[in-house]
């Protein structure tokens, strides 16, 4: 479903993604793990047409997203690391706009929105403005929205960041259910190793832009002689801290946090 060959992305003389290759099979849940600044988000951006690769090949359901942009976009859904809901619209309106942009036929639109809002337990709040929602509810809404146009692939970039264990648990349960009932391929990144261990069938670990290990959670543990995915992760990527330079996105993120705290 996803096939990446020798993918490279450089920014000036910095190589963010260095010769990465992997394959995700149809219907699989694939976890892409790595420390901060390892190249996870850059890879997702290239997979989702938001960034052009410097070199290498990407195939999404057989399509090159750089060439067949709109066809590729129709086939995936994405939940970004940063919020991308319109907080001045209601939950239902957010879903509706998405349905229009993704050409969901009018006939199935209402039904599909109701089904997904019910699945993620947001139906009773459908008429409320998103700005009144908690972090967990927003996340659920974004994921529900990602499923709306029945994509073949769903990208989840750190979807559980900042959520409590209850929300995280419920969220993964629903994602897993939909993965099974609709056969969606799920490509996720997370910093919570327990989540990846529980939900992902295949795992790739990336560090300094290179893939350092790939396989099932059991295989990674066996290879490193460790008893948990977290320890396997640390054995593979070392325990040194990653002090990245703050990008302009990080600066904006900080401002966003400042403002949202003020409002609460």
């Amino acid at each position: 479903m996803i096939k990446v060959t020798n993918l490279v992305k450089t920014f000036g003389d910095f190589t963010a993604v260095n010769n990465v290759s992997f394959e995700v099979r149809r219907g699989e849940i694939f976890a892409f793990l790595g420390p901060n600044g390892a190249g996870k988000t850059t890879t997702i951006k290239m997979l989702t047409t938001l960034l052009k690769p410097s070199s290498g090949r990407i195939e999404l359901d057989g399509l090159d997203p750089a060439v067949k942009q709109n066809e590729a976009r129709q086939r995936f859904g994405i939940v970004f690391q940063d919020p991308s809901l319109d907080s001045e619209l209601t939950a239902y309106e957010n879903m509706d706009v998405h349905a229009v942009l993704y050409h969901v036929p009018r006939k199935v639109r209402a039904e599909r929105i109701e089904f997904l809002l019910n699945t993620f337990e947001l139906w009773p709040r459908r008429k409320d403005l998103v700005k009144t929602f908690s972090g967990g509810m927003r996340r659920r809404l974004e994921i529900a929205r990602g499923f709306l146009h029945t994509p073949k692939i769903l990208f989840l970039d750190e979807p559980t960041l900042g959520l409590d264990p209850q929300s995280r648990n419920q969220l993964w349960t629903e994602v897993k259910n939909l993965n099974q009932s609709e056969g969606v391929t799920v490509f996720l990144t997370t910093h919570y190793m327990d989540e990846a261990d529980r939900i992902a069938e295949q795992i790739a670990i990336i560090d300094h832009g290179r893939i350092v290990a790939q396989g099932s959670s059991r295989k990674l543990k066996e290879e490193t002689g460790t008893d948990s995915l977290e320890n396997a992760f640390l054995a593979l990527t070392g325990s040194s801290l990653r002090d990245e330079k703050a990008s302009s996105a990080d600066q904006l993120r900080q401002m966003a946090r400042m403002w949202s705290n003020k409002r609460q």
Binding site: L50, R73, P83, L101, H103
Partner: protein, 248 residues
């Protein structure tokens, strides 16, 4: 087409839902109108130029449309990182339609905001020459809105951080306003200043508005229309080019 419509509708919904913001954004134009309108009235009259209120009202209307439309575009900077825009950038819709929906929405909001200021002008004693002037004034407001919504989108697609926003504000948007003849007549100016005011697209917008509403014009309505249409086409092309090149 439905994509353009839904994005346009979204801008309008957001506008009507933020009543506090509507009122707040009326503050600046009303202040200009009251403080300058009444404050400079005696000097202006003494200089033999007639009523300053009559002169400045079209300027303040143009200013409102300028700020409102340019901000809607520059808002891209924020919107593409933390907002809904990112969602539209991965949607299976050609970017040009996304940008058109957004620009039309921003321009419509700017015109609505301009109409509120027209009402405020009428309240404080501004009198347009006739009611027939309103459609022509509306046309010029629409042109100003289109030009600057496109400019805003071109800038917003390129900006990297909030510091850039301040720079654009102080070195582009404010000069566009102050050098447009919104506040003072463009006659008998020092040569350098006169040249600069002729390079400012807003000069022609304000001149057109003033011609429509009060019958006084510097360049002539035909020139105003031609220049604004030309600039609008160039900036729309530029805006959609930069917008289509946005990478995150």
């Amino acid at each position: 087409m439905t994509a353009i419509y839904i994005l346009w509708l979204r801008e309008l919904k957001r506008y009507f839902r933020s009543r506090a913001q509507i009122v707040a954004s009326l503050g600046q134009p009303v202040l200009y109108l009251l403080a300058l309108g009444f404050g400079l009235e005696p000097v202006f009259r003494k200089a033999g130029n007639g009523s300053y209120m009559q002169f400045v009202a079209p300027g303040v209307i143009g200013m409102t449309v300028l700020f409102s439309s340019v901000f809607s575009g520059i808002g891209l900077l924020w919107d593409r990182q933390f907002g809904f825009l990112k969602e539209t950038l991965v949607a299976p819709v050609p970017r040009i339609r996304i940008m058109t929906g957004k620009a039309l929405g921003g321009a419509t909001v700017a015109i609505l905001q301009g109409l509120l200021v027209v009402a405020a002008c009428l309240l404080v004693g501004f009198r347009p020459r006739s009611l027939a002037a309103i459609p022509i004034a509306l046309l010029f407001m629409a042109l100003i809105a289109t030009v600057f919504a496109s400019l805003g989108i071109a800038i917003g697609s390129k900006l990297e951080n909030m510091q850039g926003f301040q720079l654009i504000m102080n070195f582009l948007v404010m000069p566009i306003f102050f050098l447009s003849g919104a506040l003072f007549p463009l006659t008998n100016l020092p040569k350098a200043l006169a040249a600069i005011t002729r390079l400012d697209p807003l000069s022609y917008g304000i001149d057109g508005l003033r011609a429509a509403l009060t019958g006084v014009s510097q360049f002539g309505v035909a020139t105003d229309l031609a220049v604004l249409c030309g600039v609008a086409i160039v900036l729309m092309a530029l805006g959609s080019y930069f917008f289509s090149k946005i990478q995150l």
